[in-house]
């Protein structure tokens, strides 16, 4: 049971949150200009590193705000980034 640091509510148990996937994947500015391959890259491909990973969580059962943090996918150590 991870302890997730919500910037507004404080540290809460993992069960109050939903996972939000890789952080920093922006919706393309002009989707029409992308090829099918480039669009598929946005839709379906995400990083999966062994080690530190910047990701999003959303405090579903709390303030419902999205937050970003850095988690080590091996040790589950979490480093706060806020939002």
């Amino acid at each position: 049971m991870l302890r997730v640091p919500c910037p507004w509510c404080g540290e809460r148990d993992e069960v109050e949150f939903s996972y939000g996937g890789q952080a920093g994947v922006r919706y393309p500015a002009d989707p029409a200009a992308l090829s099918d391959e480039e669009w598929a890259e946005f839709l379906f491909y995400r990083d999966n590193p062994k080690g530190r990973f910047v990701e999003r969580w959303v405090h579903t059962h709390g303030c419902r705000r999205f937050l970003e943090l850095e988690r080590d996918t091996l040790t589950h150590e979490i480093h706060v980034r806020g939002r």
Partner: protein, 751 residues
């Protein structure tokens, strides 16, 4: 106090464990081993007990060394296997706690660590434990596991599950004594030397010791490393862990030197390594001679360590024997992986209160008491109970549903649609947000009008549908399907917060602020008119308009939307007055309450899709035949780019069609796969599947909706709907809208 063991009564004392009481009463045997049926007796004084397994009340398998004696206790010996008791157990308890320091182990070093700690301190101890000033002592509580962030789960008396979050953990779990290895080291009366002392040196008992193994389990679970300590002949904690420290004999300190190790002099098949599993030195030798080199393999070959005691008195001896036979240093073999729970724990304890009626919340609408009182049969939609149909006395479901459908088509019915999600969207950029998230062009939606709208994911697949109502200049109310209410709000928030935080618009769930009754059928106006001052005629209240006023004296918003295809008014009132509205409608005339089943049939006749039934996350609006709902003028919206993907425009995509069984009375099962031919010779190409299937009152026959590869080009073809068992049902492919394709019934009876 008195207690019963194996049918015989004994005298016990306050504070004794069952094992201690048995030993004090001279019961040094009384048990049998699992496979070889060897007579056995109490061996230890704690959770590592391999022999004295008992059934007590509803507990199928516990160690006599952990059973707190109570007056009237009845216990029966078990030969290594538990016995399930059919009687239901009461729900178990749970408790959350947070502390600065959690100390595991109430021995000398544990108590010292707890006394010295500052802040909020909790001490857990498996057996009895004297109180300690300033410390919350949890006696008869076993720590089961250490999880991320110093989260510790512990079982108190098998009845309460503690979930403890600690800033610091001090492990003072001590050490387990190992058996000495000699033939007959399992005979009744042979027991660990520390147990011999703990039980007051019982007459007739033989103390033995093969050394001590620190209880490294929790340290290891938390990711701590181990190193072999030659002096004590066992692994000890090594390295460091953030927030967790070891104290006392767990570190190896204060433990005696291990006796010099030697393989038994005598019959190896009578020298037990794992007493609970009846595994001997001979078994380890057989494993090694079979070529096995690692501890994990030896464990699997011999089953050492796989018993309910998890090999607590066995694992280290197994390593030492294997190392000796292999001619290597024990430290080279490593240990098996330590996983929670540290001791066996019942499912009931883990489930806690989430059982029976409290397994999951049962959500009900304000009208629920009326539905119950009127005999509704309910179906689960997510966590909600929705009336499925309202059978009259003696009426079966099919008849009830046909009657309800007929009433909606020929007279008037009413349905409780309060469960649909409702989201308030307001702000200067409300329209902009909705235009980006829905496929429809919404610019032309005026105040006081509503529109059926579709939402897709970025991959172009249908996510949800609903009605967008414009209730003000900058204010909209969006409905969602019942099951997707939370998901759609979360989806909208995700885009708003993470992609478009500059948009000035705010979202609020109002699902429960409004209770809604749908009044549907040609007589809908006649039913409603006496209850409201709102003009209901088609000129002043056109299709897809919204009006506000009073219904049955209650402030209401009325929308002319229809999921049944008939003339319909959806009346929404403050949730606290939902029952009042419903009762007023029921009293207003001959109106038939109808449930989700009738609603499903009516909408299916018109091929209105149900998200999650006719869609599964792989279906586009075009697959559903809803081309008209996808704006061609908006430069972008979520999902638009994906419609142009090669895969999304394949002609053989699965498309929504209707199926008419050649036998108009035959009901095709939902989920049936569609095949080209009646004969099924594997591999059978699957052309699609049946998504919805019903008997129709209006059509006087059965029909189904299905997703069929290239379906729209196959109208007229005969295919086979194949259930899991049995023959394929011949069906003819038809245009999806089977009833009232012009939508003429929507305005009610012609004037």
């Amino acid at each position: 106090m008195r207690f019963t063991f194996a049918g015989a009564e004994y005298e016990g004392r306050e504070g004794e464990t069952l094992a201690a009481a048995l030993v004090r009463n001279g019961v040094l045997g009384g048990f049998r081993s699992i496979y070889r049926g060897r007579p056995r007796g109490v061996y230890s004084a704690h959770e590592e007990e391999p022999n004295a397994l008992v059934q007590v009340g509803p507990e199928p398998l516990v160690r006599a060394t952990l059973v707190e004696l109570e007056d009237g206790l009845v216990a029966d010996p078990l030969a290594g296997k538990g016995r399930l008791v059919p009687a239901p157990r009461p729900r178990c308890d749970a408790a959350h706690a947070r502390c600065d320091v959690l100390v595991v182990g109430g021995g000398r070093s544990g108590r010292a660590a707890a006394a010295a700690a500052r802040g909020r301190v909790i001490l857990v101890e498996q057996l009895g434990c004297a109180p300690l000033d300033g410390v919350q002592v949890l006696a008869h509580t076993t720590a089961l596991g250490v999880y991320d962030g110093n989260y510790v789960v512990a079982a108190e008396r098998g009845r309460r599950l503690w979930k403890i979050r600690a800033l610091r953990i001090v492990l003072a779990t001590g050490a387990i004594e190992r058996p000495a290895l000699f033939p007959g080291n399992d005979r009744p009366g042979v027991m660990l030397a520390s147990a011999f002392e703990a039980y007051g040196r019982p007459a007739g008992a033989t103390p033995v010791s093969g050394g001590f193994s620190p209880r490294v389990h929790l340290w290891s679970q938390a990711g701590g490393r181990l190193r072999w300590d030659d002096r004590i002949g066992a692994p000890v904690p090594a390295g460091e862990l953030r927030g967790i420290e070891c104290a006392g004999r767990l570190t190896g300190a204060g433990l005696p030197d291990a006796p010099p190790f030697a393989l038994p002099d005598g019959d190896e098949d009578e020298t037990f390594v794992d007493l609970e599993r009846d595994a001997t030195v001979a078994d380890v030798r057989r494993a090694v001679e079979a070529g096995l080199r690692s501890v994990e393999h030896v464990k699997r070959y011999t089953s050492i360590g796989t018993g309910s005691d998890q090999g607590k008195t066995a694992n280290v001896n197994a390593i030492r024997v294997a190392a000796e036979l292999l001619g290597v240093h024990p430290g080279e073999l490593g240990t098996t992986t330590f996983r929670p729970p540290y001791v066996p724990v019942s499912f009931a304890l883990v489930a806690g209160r989430d059982r029976g009626e409290l397994f999951d919340p049962v959500r009900v609408t304000p009208m629920h008491p009326w539905h119950v009182a009127h005999g509704a049969v309910f179906e689960d939609v997510g966590q909600w109970k929705r009336p499925r149909y309202y059978p009259r006395p003696g009426e079966e479901m099919d008849a009830a549903v046909l009657r309800e459908c007929r009433a909606v088509c020929e007279a008037v019915g009413m349905q409780d649609v309060s469960t649909l999600g409702k989201i308030d969207v307001q702000g200067p950029d409300a329209l902009e947000l909705l235009n980006r998230l829905y496929t429809n062009a919404l610019d032309s939606l005026e105040v006081g009008r509503c529109r059926y709208a579709l939402m897709c994911r970025a991959d172009g697949m249908v996510l949800d549908d609903g009605v967008v109502m414009r209730v003000g200049e900058r204010r909209y109310l969006c409905t969602t399907t019942t099951g997707n209410a939370a998901a759609v709000l979360a989806w909208m928030e995700e885009w708003l917060q993470t992609e478009w935080p500059e948009l000035r618009v705010r979202l609020t769930s109002v699902t429960e602020q409004w209770a809604t009754a749908a009044v549907a059928g040609p007589d809908a106006r006649e039913l409603l008119a006496p209850l409201t001052e709102i003009p209901l005629d088609a000129e002043r209240f056109p299709f897809m308009a919204i009006r506000e006023g009073e219904v049955a004296g209650i402030p209401a918003r009325v929308a002319r939307v229809s999921f049944s295809g008939e003339l319909a008014f959806e009346v929404s009132v403050d949730g606290r007055r939902g029952l009042e509205l419903w009762e007023a409608l029921a009293a207003a005339g001959d109106v038939t309450p109808y449930g989700t089943e009738a609603m499903h049939v009516l909408r299916a006749e018109k091929a209105y899709p149900i998200v999650g039934q006719d869609t599964d996350g792989t279906v586009t609006p075009f697959d559903l035949g809803l081309d008209w709902i996808v704006s061609r003028t908006k430069p972008d919206f979520v999902g638009k780019r994906s419609f142009a993907r090669a895969d999304t425009s394949r002609p053989d995509r699965k498309q929504l069609v209707a199926l008419l069984p050649l036998d108009p009375r035959e009901l095709v099962p939902e989920g049936a796969q569609l095949a080209e031919t009646a004969e099924l010779t594997p591999p059978v190409p699957m052309l699609g599947h049946v998504t919805s299937s019903y008997r129709s009152a209006a059509l006087g026959r059965t029909f189904a909706l299905a997703l069929l590869a290239g379906g729209r080009g196959r109208v007229g073809d005969v295919l086979y709907a194949v259930p899991p068992r049995g023959d394929g049902v011949p069906v003819r492919v038809a245009e999806p809208v089977l009833y009232d394709p012009e939508g003429a019934r929507r305005d009610g009876r012609p004037r």
